[in-house]
């Protein structure tokens, strides 16, 4: 007997770097493209993806990122993070992967629910107004679990 198909996912995006944010966005968009219900919960530095001023400036971490295969001191050269980010952004555009602000809007338009984490909002001294309009609400962890009921939870 085939396994039951996934019908609902709730994706948590907790990291603020480019490589921390994209996987969750791709999972959310991919879910909607398969007709799967999706919620995205942004917490800690992952909230940069929905922050009005910051979402256009998310970068690849050039320091402490062994995946880049750069010598540690090279990663620390001023501007290195921007260079690596620029290269990756160019490649992504070629592959028709949208920049973060456009991608988040696409996911919201696809009917996924976007939420910010109450604890992180309090911790960083933010308010609802700091977030893009597509964010439905700032919710507590308990409310997140209520919205996630009946589906899978994916932490990124």
């Amino acid at each position: 007997m085939p396994d039951d198909p996934i019908t609902k996912v709730s994706i948590i995006i907790s990291k603020g770097s480019l490589e921390g944010i994209y996987p969750g966005l791709i999972l959310a968009n991919g879910a909607r493209m398969e007709g799967i219900e999706a919620n995205v919960f942004f917490t800690f530095f992952g909230m940069d993806a929905i922050h009005r001023e910051r979402h256009e400036h998310v970068k690849v971490a050039a320091v402490g990122n062994p995946g880049l295969h750069l010598a540690t001191w090279v990663g620390g050269v001023p501007g290195m993070s921007s260079i690596v980010t620029h290269q990756l952004a160019k490649k992504m555009e070629e592959l028709d992967i949208p920049p973060i602000p456009e991608f988040v809007e696409l996911i919201a338009d696809s009917g996924a629910g976007l939420y910010a984490c109450q604890a992180s909002v309090d911790m960083f001294g933010l308010t609802r107004a700091d977030f893009i309009d597509q964010v439905e609400d700032v919710i507590t962890v308990g409310e997140f679990y209520e919205r996630a009921a009946g589906g899978q939870i994916i932490f990124t």
Partner: protein, 105 residues
């Protein structure tokens, strides 16, 4: 690959029901695939999306991404999901008689 009959035409389909030969497609086949996938009637807006998918596939050899679909088909993303709730790119490709889109976006 299996052979089946859609709208009176014998056609080859993959295990998920996508036509394997886009040339075997016609608009009656499209209407029947749509009905089988929860769209009782294809409106003018549905056709706009299906035709766009098909044209792009036949031109480029690949189905467009949901991003391109939203930007260039003339139907915005919100409406795409209203027209094809089970996934616009996938379903419009199926109805349009082209292979299932392989991209992640």
């Amino acid at each position: 690959m299996t052979q089946t009959t859609i709208a009176g035409h014998p056609v080859d389909v993959d295990p998920e029901g996508f036509l394997t030969d886009p040339g075997a497609w016609d608009r009656d086949i499209a209407a029947e695939i749509a009905r089988d996938n929860g769209i009782p009637e294809l409106t003018e807006r549905h056709w706009q999306v299906v035709d766009f998918m098909r044209e792009r596939y036949l031109r480029d050899g690949a189905a467009p991404s949901i991003r391109t679909l939203g930007k260039a088909s003339g139907v915005p993303v919100k409406e795409l999901y209203q027209l094809f709730p089970k996934g616009p790119a996938k379903l419009a490709a199926k109805i349009g008689g082209i292979p299932k889109p392989r991209g992640c976006i």
